[in-house]
Every structure is written in C-alpha cells, then in structure tokens.
Assembly symmetry: C2
Homo-oligomer: 780 residues x 2
Amino acid sequence: MENTSMNGNMEEEEFEGIEERDPERNPMNEPLLKRNRTLSSNPLALVGAKVSYIESLDYEINENDLFKQDWRSRSRCQVLQYIFLKWLLAFLVGLLTGIIATLINLAVENISGYKLLAVVEYIQQERYLIGFLYFTSTNFILTFIASILCVCFAPTAAGPGIPEIKAYLNGVDTPNMYGANTLFVKIIGSIGAVSAGLDLGKEGPLVHIGSCIASLLGQGGPDNHKIKWKWLRYFNNDRDRRDLITCGASSGVCAAFRAPVGGVLFALEEVASWWRSALLWRTFCSTAVVVVVLRAFIELCHEGKCGLFGEGGLIMFDVSNVAVSYNVMDIIPVAIIGILGGVLGSLYNYLLHKILRVYNLINQKGKIYKLLLSLSVSIFTSACQYGLPFLVKCTPCESSSLQEQSSSCPTNGKSGNYKQFNCPNGHYNDLATLLLTTNDDAVRNIFSTNTPHEYQPYSILIFFTLYCILGLITFGIAVPSGLFLPIILIGSGYGRLLGIIMKPYTNIDHGLLAVLGAASLMAGSMRMTVSLCVIFLELTNNLLLLPITMIVLLVAKTVGDSFNPSIYEIILHLKGLPFMDADPELWMRNLSVGELIDVKPSVISFRGVEKVANIVEALKNTTHNGFPVMDDDVEFEIVKLHGVILRAHLIKVLKKKWFLKEKRRTEEWEVREKFSWVELAEREGNIEDVGVTKDEMEMFVDLHPLTNTTPFTVLESMSVAKAKILFRHVGLRHMLVVPKYQVTGVCPVIGILTRQDLLAYNILSVFPHLAKSKGREKRN
Amino acid sequence: MENTSMNGNMEEEEFEGIEERDPERNPMNEPLLKRNRTLSSNPLALVGAKVSYIESLDYEINENDLFKQDWRSRSRCQVLQYIFLKWLLAFLVGLLTGIIATLINLAVENISGYKLLAVVEYIQQERYLIGFLYFTSTNFILTFIASILCVCFAPTAAGPGIPEIKAYLNGVDTPNMYGANTLFVKIIGSIGAVSAGLDLGKEGPLVHIGSCIASLLGQGGPDNHKIKWKWLRYFNNDRDRRDLITCGASSGVCAAFRAPVGGVLFALEEVASWWRSALLWRTFCSTAVVVVVLRAFIELCHEGKCGLFGEGGLIMFDVSNVAVSYNVMDIIPVAIIGILGGVLGSLYNYLLHKILRVYNLINQKGKIYKLLLSLSVSIFTSACQYGLPFLVKCTPCESSSLQEQSSSCPTNGKSGNYKQFNCPNGHYNDLATLLLTTNDDAVRNIFSTNTPHEYQPYSILIFFTLYCILGLITFGIAVPSGLFLPIILIGSGYGRLLGIIMKPYTNIDHGLLAVLGAASLMAGSMRMTVSLCVIFLELTNNLLLLPITMIVLLVAKTVGDSFNPSIYEIILHLKGLPFMDADPELWMRNLSVGELIDVKPSVISFRGVEKVANIVEALKNTTHNGFPVMDDDVEFEIVKLHGVILRAHLIKVLKKKWFLKEKRRTEEWEVREKFSWVELAEREGNIEDVGVTKDEMEMFVDLHPLTNTTPFTVLESMSVAKAKILFRHVGLRHMLVVPKYQVTGVCPVIGILTRQDLLAYNILSVFPHLAKSKGREKRN
C-alpha cells in the first residue's frame, strides 16, 4: 500500500491549493465499495465475487475465567490428544489435497486430451470448420458449467482465492470462503475452466482448495453436518484454524507445482502474516505428504491406466538435461530480462487493475452479465487458439541437425512438441504446438531446451501478444482462476523472443531464457523472491540455474516495486479487504493514538455486573465487537478495568438468559453450570435473534467470568506507528487506550482501537495533512 | 528450554516431600555461571570463551524529541541515501564474505593438500614412522597457531559463534563478538584448525565471519579506526545492525555450503528471531552475491591456477548422477534412518552437554590449560587418523564389476576415492580413503554413489566410532569450530553402515543412504527442518531425493524433540545467554505481571526536570538501564507518565554537563545545540567515568527531550504469558507495568520488566510451585 498512498499524494501535490481534497480521491485508487469517511468504516468487502460483511478474527488469546479454567483442567492426556490431532490434521490436509489435486489433473488431462485428439482428427481430414465448431462448442460448454456453478452456487469460489486467504491469515474473517459448497464448486469449476483451454491456471484454485479442506477438517465437516467428535472441539478457535489453513495453502501450492519446499515458502512469504518455527515445521509435514501422494499416483498411472494422464514425473517442466554454462558476461542479457520483467510485470498489474474495475461494473449488473462475460471470453479464446495457427507458415522438420527430436516430429498426440496441424507430412506448425494444447503442455513446449530453431520469431510474437490479451481479460471472469500460469505463459513467450533477438550475444539456451522470462514476469508482478526462486528450482530441476534465477528475480522485483505494489496487494485493496501491512508508514510516528481516539465515537463500557437493558441497547445501537468492563469500588471511589468482553459472548449470555435477579457477583460453579468453554468458542448468533422480555431487561448479568481479563493496552501518548506494530505483530483484535495520568474516578479506558482504525487509508481520510509530511518512505 | 524445565520438574516429582527444593537444582541443568536467585539476575554470560557483562539491545524504536526531530528533518535525498547504503552494505557483505570464504578454502585445500601429499610420499617409501611424525607435528603446529590466537587475542573467536549470534539477534548484546580482532583470529584460526585435520568444520566460523564483516562494515571499520563517513551514521543503531548481521549470517551459511537459498532459510529459521519480508529479500541479495563470487573464483581456479584448490563446481557433494528409484516400501528403511538419527542426535546433544561442562572446568584453570587441551586433542586425532588405517585389510580394485571407477583406482592425489596407502598396487585401503584426507573429501568419498562394494563394514564401523569420539571431544576446545561437519561425518558413517546392513531389503544407493544418515543426524541434533532440507538439496543437487529427505528430517526431529532441546538451545543455556523463546510456557498464564513486580525491587523514577544528585545516585546504586520519567502537575495534583529514559542517555547528559541552574523546561533549540542524534545513538560511557562537582550536584537537568515518550505498557493484571508475547514479538527492552485503577496522585508506573524478568528459568526460581501446575506443554 506504500506506493498507493504515495501515488495519491503525488497527484495531490499537483492540486496543492485545494486543502480539503481527499488524498486518495482519484477514482482508480479507491476500493470498489464506497466507504464513509470516518474512522469507523463500513465493514464490507468483496469475498470472491460476493459482497460480505467482514469482521476481525480472534487471534489473541482470550483469557477469561472459563477458558482459563479449561486450560488448567486439561489433563496430560488431553494435551497429547490435542497435539496428536494437530499433526493428524496436518497429515490429512496433505493427503486429501494431494488426492484432489491428482483427480483434478486426471480430469483436466483426459477431458482436454480427448478434445484435442478429436480436433486433430478433424484437421487431418481437412474438415477445418467442423473442427472449429467442435473445439469452440466443447470449450463453451465447459466454461458454461464452470461459470454457472460459480455464479449461482458459490460466488466465493470465483477468482484465485489467494487474496482472501491472505486476508484471513492476516486476521480478517472472510465468510463462506471455506465451506463445502465453495470447495465443490472450486474443484468442478477449476476442472471445467482449465479443460476449456481458458488462459488460467489451477494453481490459485488449488491453494484455495487446500485451505477449504483444512478448514472443513478442522471444524469436522460442512457447516450443517459437522461431526461432533469431542477431540475436534480443541480446534474450534481462530488460532488453530489459522494454522490449519496455512497448512492447507502450502499443500495447495505444493500440489500445484509439485514443489514441497516452494509450497512451504510460498505460504510463509506470501500468504501467511505470522511465521512461527512450529508452523513451518507442520506445513512442511503437509507438503511432504502431498508429494508422496503425487508420486504414488504418478507411479500408479505410469502404464497408461489413467487415460491420457501420466506423462512426466515429479518435475513438471524438466530442464535438467541442458548443460548450463554461462560466464560473467551473460549477466547483461540476464539483467535485461530482469528489467523487462519488472516493467512488464508492473504494466500487467496496472492494466489488470483497470480491467478488473471495468469487469466489476459489468458483474454488478447481475448474474446473467457475469455469465455472458465468461462465455464471450471463452469464445474469443477458442477462436484465437484455433484460428491463429493458420496464419503462420509450416516449418520442415530439421531431420539433419537435431536427430533425436526429428525422429518424433511431428507429434500429433496430446502432449509433445512439433504438432503437424494443417501442415504436410514432415512439416510442423510451431504456433499450433503452443496454442492447440493444454496450458501445461504449452509451457512445457516453450520451455523445451536444445531446440533453438523450433519456433519462428513471428509465431512467438503472436503467442506472446495473444497471451498478453488473454491474461488480462480472463482473470476477472466468474470462474476459479489462477494467476500463475497466465503470467508464466506471457513471461516464457517474451523470454524466448529475447533469446532469438539476443542470439548473437549469449550462449544461454532458449528454453532456459524462456524459464528466466517466466520467472522475471512473476517477480515483476507478484513480487515474491525466495519462494519463487525455490518454486522455479523445483519446477525445472536445474540447480545450476539458481544464481541467474536469483539475479533475474532481484532485478525484476526492484524494478517492479518502483512502479506499483504487487498484484495481490492491488487486488486486496480493490476488494476492500482491510489487510494490515507489517511495517507502519513513517508519518504514523507523528500521530498519537490519543488523536485517533478523539475522532472516534466515545467508547461504550459496561460495569462488571450490568443491567440487561444496557447490554441489549449497546448491542443494538452499535456494531462494536468488544466492550471494556469496569469495576467500581464504591468505597474508595475508584474505577478498575476488569477487561474486554466480546459481542459474541454477550449474545450468548442473552440467548442463554443467564440473568440474576439482584446485582451480585457469581461463583465460579454457577458459570460453569451454564456455559462450557466449547459453547463459548462458537461464533454465531445475532442480536436481532435475541428475544428479551421487559422483566428480564431489568435483571442483571455478571460479566466477570466471561471477560478477557488481559487485554493489550497502550498509553494515549503512544504513536500510531508503534501501536500498529503491537497490533500487527501480536495479532490483536481490540487494543485499549489508557490515559497517561492518574485521576481518581476517571474511567481507566479512553478508547478502543481496531484494525480499521489503524489502516493507513482510513487514517489519511481523517488526517489528510499527514500524507504530506516529509519522509514517506518506510524504514525497512 | 521447555524440556529442560520439564526434566527439572520430573526429578522434582521424585522428591515430592521437599517443598522448598529449587526446581532446577540438578547441577547438570544449571548454566555454567552461578546466578543469584532473584528476579534481577546477574547479567553475566560466556561469549565465545570469555565471561562478559551482557545487556539488552534497543530494537524498539526510541521516540524521543531528538530522534523524532531527526526523522522529520531527513530530506528525501537522505532517505534515498539510507536505502541505497542499506543495499550497498548487503552487497558488500556478500562480496567480502564470498572472497574470504574462497581464501579460507584456498588456504585449507593447499595446506592440507601438500601435507597429505608428503605423507603419501613417505608411506609409499614405507617410511611409516617419519610419515607419522611429519603428519602429527604439522597438525600440532597448525592447531597450536589456531589455539594460541584464540586463547590470547580473541577468546570470543573460539567455538562456532552461532549461539552468540542467535542471542544477539534475539536482543542480547554480546560484547567483543564482532570486532576486527575476532574476525582476524576467526579467519586464521579456522584455516589452522581445519588444515590440522581436526574434526571440525568451517561452516559455523564462516557464519561468524559473515556477521563480523557485516558489523564492521556497518560501523565503518574496527572500533578504534572507524571511518567517519556521514552516510554511515544512519546505521548507528541496534535495529539496522541487527539486519546487517542477519545478512552476514546468511552469507556465511551460503559460502559454507554454496547454498544460497539454504543460507537465507538457515539464517531465518535458526539464527534470526524476527522475520520480515524486506529482510528476506535483502539477505537473498547478499547470498546471490556470494554465489556469484564463489562461481567466479571456481572458474578462475579451474585450470589449476590456485595450487591444489579447484576441484568440484558449485555443488559440493554432487550425487545427481545416481538414478533415484524408490518405491513405497522404501519408507521403512527411511523411517529407520530417521528414528536412529533422532536417537543418536539427542544422545549426541546429551553427551556433548556433559563434555562441555567438564571442558569448562578445565578451561577455567587458565590459558595454558586451554592450550594443552587443544593440543592433546590434536595429537589424539592425528594418531587415530594415521594409525587406524593400518588395522584394516587391503581391498583389491574391482576391475571387473565397476569399470569406470576401477580405471582410476587407486588415487593417491589429494582428493578422490580409493587410496592406495600401505597396500600393494591394484589394491586400496578403504579406511585411509576416509581418514587420511580433508574432512570435505571424506564426506565426498563416503557420499560417493554407485560404489556399494567400496567400503568394508568393519572400516565404516571404525570410521563411525572414531568420529563419534572426535566429534564429542573436539567441539569444546579453544579453536574456531563448526558443528555441521562433525555431525555430517558421523551421520554419513552410520547411514552407510545401515546401507550395508539393509542391503537385502532396499535398492537405495549406499551413497544416498549416507546422505540421508547425515541429514537425519543433523535434524536429530540441530532440529532444523526446511532450511536443512534446502541445504541438503543444494549440497547434493538431487531434487528427486527431496521427498525421502523430508520424511527423514521429520522423523528425526520428532524423535529428537522428545528427548532434549536442540544443541544450540543447550549451548545457549550453558553459556547463560538470556535467549527468549518465541512461545511462552503454559504455566505463565497463571501468573500476572503484578506478581512479578511484587518480587522485584521497587522502581526508581525521575521527575521531568530532575536534580543532578538524584540522577547520579540512581545510576551509581543500580544497574538499571531504563528509568521512567514522570511529570507532576502541581495544580491538579496529578502525576503524568512522560516516558522512559535510557541509562546511556543519562550518562551522556552528565558527561556533557548539560545542567540548568534553575528548575525549568528547556526549549527545543537548547537541546539541539548541545546534542545531536548521532551522538545520542552511541552506546558507550560508564557512570564511573563521570565527574560531577558538588555545585553541579545541586543543579537540574531537563530530561524531557531525551525521554522515549512511547514506551510499551501492560496492565498489572496482564498474564506473564501475554506480556512475554508482547515483549518478544515486538522486540522490547523495557516494558512498563501500569495500574489497572485510577487514583489521583499515585505514580502511574508500578514497575519495569526486562528480558531477565520474563525468562522461564528466572521466574521459576522465585515461583517454584508454578512448574508443578498441570499442562506444561506449549500450545504450538
């Protein structure tokens, strides 16, 4: 977001005179949903393609009497159960993700394989129009299935899901994101969309699928049919769910790229907001299981038992057969690829941002428009993929120079290089090799090494241009879609193109340059480094490529960062998800939390033993999720802070009607009789559903046992920068602000800060002058 | 530490009756230095081999008026200078570490190469005694040089240095650890010790060397001859130094294993306590530079220009030539290796712990004893390495079955398999192949693939036993020594041995089993996972090995963790370095910070404008490093907390004699006239060096502008567990405890907590009953 706010500010400097102007009012920078410009923002965001009410998650440890009692009473055996189950779940997440990923692969390879075989048949018979109609209509139907499911049954399944998972792991609840519906639609939709030959990958969806599996396992099944296994109750809290979903996300990446270490690193570098050694260790376990499952299936399918699936081993795009020999001078072409990758990547981000805004306008018009959009993209894609290869000339197979390849030229089967298409025997159509195939095979073909003369520059140029267009227009449609593969396709295209141009200056193989091009574009758009490096290492199985890959990534990321934020940050901002960066902006040092509190509505607090009417009124009139609880000491006239109570727990009290006739403190057994900590962990219920009679309104509730007695606090003089560090690093939901002086009888809490209050975007809307202060750079 | 405290507790349960018994009084669990059993512990620890006074580092942002003024006044150009320099330093750290690592390799390979060539010469002439004397005396002299340097000039250079770096990055200052002396001694000592054939590696020392280079670059040179380059002043703070040292540590690992991604991950998983994306990114840059430097040197030395150095490429122990084919049933031998690795690893930790205690007793007797210890280990090592190969029978070269190897058998040059030693022509001595060579070559030979019949079980058994003994007795001597290589040697020995035993049951190559054995023992002793996995991947260049490596690591770590903590944690505890774990113990939830404060001496605070005499008295009578500063509002009789002032800044005030005749607040320009923020960043000076006259004692100081106005606070009701999370995650030095009620005129700070107060070990010494409470397991 750093750059976003800087852009906003740069524009503002042009309008220096207009003092009242909002710093981010350039429409292109605004989230898609309008917010009111106060510190308590409208908590709505786009989750998938659905507008949802979002709230924060409780990653903080809630130390109320009931939970404390539970921890104390857990026997050694129960602790072991918990630990065992934690590992079992990590294992199961890996297992199921591996199996589902293989099934998706199987389905995609078979559906699109048989489709392509039929098309090749038509072409060989020179029945070009029938071939076209067959190709287009199959793709149309597949897209229709994927799209109708997404539009009607699970809007949250549209898109990659990674931004939402990122937000969830940052502490934002994204409702309906991990349900059984979503999982089902994501699996079927992903199979449909990928088999339809659309320019999208199954990588992002697999990450989402992994997370769904993890969440469903953790809660014991779909929302309506949960298994009530008593061991599972230990996982009924946001912290453990977060850990499980991290495992799921890394398993997903691992399954997508068959890259176990890369999967762990991707989850930790890009998706998760908090890293812990213990978690590193558990995600690692999940990905190990995924790899074992994948390997087992590959072996099982090796003898053609799985239809057209089964080519290729654990390494997806193997380039290990090429001898990597490069010298110091090769750093120049490598740096050029990096720079171009950075420029193109940020350009891609910029354009995708604009197109997503336009698409959003279309999608808002209704379900039918969403569907039409997907289907027109599908028809356009099919037409291009089928029609463009007719534009290029056939190339004769080089039987003399490259003996091994020539023997297998042309291959008309599903996978393999050198497609004959419309060419006479002994010739091949190089563009058909790249277009009329699955996306995975297209990548494999363009990465193919030791084939410097296979592709004509003209074909590669067409390929590159086509996938630039498709990559931009396909991402926003209402089907499960990943970003990785489109970017790899564009990147490999320009990498190979550069290879042809720079041929006189470098000896690096064109296949390797395609790999480097793909890496550079990914770094330029997604801005990952270490995880990307490891993923590429594991994808291509060539360790000697590592140093140049690292340089390419470094250069591309640096160049990209100087233009705009990463694509995920752009999408998060666009969707209005309140994602919290790790580092505060520098201007936040010049603002104290006291000043923030001043522009907020005053805090509503309860007494330790409170009247029911007051509670109901507070819950109905506000949307606050946490309320401070105070204790009066009548004798000494002092007010003591007891803690913070959550809205969910108050609603539970009202629902259970745990009311007292007189104003008194309860005993421990009274609470435990009424509430179990298991119930307290459930987060459901709405104040509208609670019916309290007039008599009950006059009764009392003892809030003490349900109050979190150890909330985190900051002094009112604390700078917002440091408060944000506390909030983000410890993973808070509510932060109390206490006065820095001591006056008898004054309330010891002067305000509560939440995630929304600490977002740069929201603060700047109230204090626009701050963005102007000097030194906006973050001190990394 | 979890397990340490549990052990302590288990013993206690046996003595249930003795209530007052200290929970950790079993002498084997105590740090080497005695502490007084109060919450303010004696801040002494072993740094290297030197007892040092340790204090905490200021990783928290100090927001006093002067620093704030500096941030605000930094121009855009200065911010760019800072960012540019940050990257330049990361680049230079990589460059210099790469160059020095290459020089060390060059020196080691040449010294030990020529030494071994001469020995082989003597043996071929059958002058065995002369050969022995030559071998032993050369090793003796080399050890003597390494040891005398460590003992006399830089005791901090002894050992691996990794525990101290770990503590530093956790927030503990380790004095004299990163000086020019230490760097020099570490380089020369490491060359000497490794060339002397001692059973130690250059990996740990290289990590320390990288960190020294980073620290020296950051401060502009050695302590006495700093370059006063004005750009460097931005780096004169603990936060930036920490980041630089992280870069240095990862460069060191990268240089040691030629593993760039592994280096980054090792630094982040094992060494650093805080991870940030930005840092990940910068360490990655450093390691990329290291790899480029290493590669350039390897190419330069390829034609024998560097003496005996130059064999081998970027991959140290290449096993990529072996076809990895394993099936599901191979999981059993793999699991056995993992389990054995875990058991042996924790046994190794246990025994090393005991031996280090014994060595400490010897070392405490004086320098001459340290020296004698090193020299006797050297003589023992030489005698074994030279003598043991005579015990085994010569093996004839298998010219029939393995044609490629046989053609080069025997190799008597420095490196290579199949040494002739004392055998007739056409025969080789397999134990000499492993012992009479450099450690790196020994690893390469035992990892050698497709050679199932090269080693006799008897030879491997001798090798394994010898290195078990050497690995235990060598680590604690006063030379720079790394732990990685000894563990790899032991592990590869038993891996190969298992390969011979399990031959009927598995097809996995013996060389690969040796690799897996080494990995399992490292996981069993050091308990790393992802970083170890990547390091092994990069060491051996065989990606298909990854799934089984992961399983081995997982099993070994799990088994090891059930016995004792990792070797680094044991060493940290032994040295008395107050390392703070990421996760609090569960019993800490049952204690509030208020209770901790009660057992501490009451806090000493200053008024905003304070009398000089009071300050001098407080500084002289306490060792506190932070004092709360209060403001009285006489009119309303309220006390306001202004912030916390550091001892270093108070001493600066006294030294500069910035005294006021009357009690008044100063203007901003008055402070800035006297102090610059650059001076304030220096951390030097002692209260003993300050001379204040009697008249001056009656004068006043305005502490406001030097006070950090935004200290982190917790309420007294906060649980210690959550306070520790705050302390550790945000990286604090002082945490103020504030009351939870409001009473006019009462001091708004009731205590200060520091690192020592929050260590489990220290708390348990005051509240021994807590360790008994149930549920001691951490909730990971």
